[in-house]
Symmetry: C2
Subunit: 244 residues, 2 copies
């Protein structure tokens, strides 16, 4: 911002950059981490799967663009999508990441509870959830973006209350534990997990009236809602190594 623009800020005098957003939208389905992908209908990478995303419009911020795309691709209303957790990951700016032109992309990660299969509407040829553990190569540098997103989400679960974003409004501690186990790919000790969650003020709060979820196999579990806290002190560390 300190140097003069090439050719003194004439907006059309230099080779322009396109700015896009890419979204890594995660959910937990049946104990597996899933990610929303769209099938590319045109070259390059025609027929490949890619992260949803699109161009940032002239009068919107990258985050607004991300929320708009998220609403379009998931079929949620913009109001609902506006309430979702959306986290800016990082920006990818390799000069050759798109063979057509110079595209700088701001990547976001979103966490959603289990949603219905997306309608194939919009401009994408098709959109569906994929098991994040069994993916073929994606278009562009989206493998890298997806890996970065997974790392970030995993790290964030350690020191934030973000895991509740994967859960429906009311959930059991077993469901919350499964979020951690699914994202981290490990098994956790149930009593210890329970103790940690319940002794962290504001992580979860019991639903009034102490209802229980019946119909399962074992003893009915108590229901909880997300609490007011956002950070976890001390953190809930993964059994082994780290990321980032």
């Amino acid at each position: 911002m300190s140097t003069a623009a090439p050719a003194g800020y004439d907006p059309h005098a230099f080779e322009p950059f396109a700015v896009t957003v890419d979204l890594a939208v995660f959910t937990v389905r049946g104990g597996r981490l899933h990610v929303l992908l769209v099938e590319r209908g045109e070259d390059p990478y025609k027929g490949h799967w890619a992260l949803p995303g699109g161009f940032v419009l002239p009068r919107e911020s990258a985050e607004s663009a991300a929320r708009r795309e998220l609403a379009e691709e998931t079929g949620l209303t913009e109001d609902t999508a506006g309430a979702l957790h959306l986290e800016q990951l990082r920006t990818y700016s390799d000069p050759d990441r798109d063979p057509r032109m110079r595209v700088v992309s701001v990547a976001y990660a979103a966490l959603v509870p289990d949603l219905p299969e997306p309608r194939g509407g919009g401009d994408a040829a098709g959109a569906r959830w994929w098991d994040a553990g069994a993916l073929g190569p994606l278009a562009f540098d989206h493998d890298r973006i997806l890996a970065d997103a997974h790392d970030r989400i995993g790290a964030k679960l350690e020191y934030s209350c973000l895991a509740t974003a994967f859960c429906p409004p009311e959930f059991t501690l077993g469901e919350l534990q499964q979020v951690y186990e699914t994202v981290w790919g490990v098994e956790l000790d149930r009593p210890n997990f329970r103790r940690k969650v319940l002794t962290t003020p504001g992580f979860v709060q019991a639903v009034e009236g102490s209802p229980r979820r019946t119909g399962g196999r074992g003893k009915p579990a108590a229901l909880y809602r997300a609490g007011a806290a956002t950070a976890l002190h001390p953190p809930l560390l993964r059994p082994e190594g780290r990321s980032t």
Copy 2:
């Protein structure tokens, strides 16, 4: 990346975005956190101080641009600057953040040991280190970027070995402790800090021959170098609350 470009990817057909980098370059001087700022020589914000930065060139990545600007502003060679720790913070894309045109900026944070005052070379009217705790309002949204950078650095000290990046090649544990105290703005217990650092494998390693730094006021301190580890397990948590 899934939607068609406006006007089918004709690079000049839509209003272009400029892409810049902004750098928050931190150092510790005399027990205070300092940040490198440049004085703006032209409107808007003429006479205000701003983060160093500049345009991303057509054939370079944002990170390359950041390293190039860092070398220019600090007077270091590109080789030296290439070895410095540079961390992508986030991207700022508010449509009105620059009154002249649409500028999307990728912000980076850099940590350097105490350096000489920068020469006023390059295109900036002037460049100098400022005490990060006593700053007037900066140009553009740079106050916000600087605050985000400070938060990120503080959080990273907790779970990484990054603090050694603020230190010269050989340093005492007291100097390392002062990095933590300066960035966090707290005082730490010396024996406890020492115990934590020394029992974390790979955080620091004693300089061979066990030399000591004499000339100070008290007992000479042993010298250490940065170790091979990059992550801190378990983390070195701040006395009180959190960030991010």
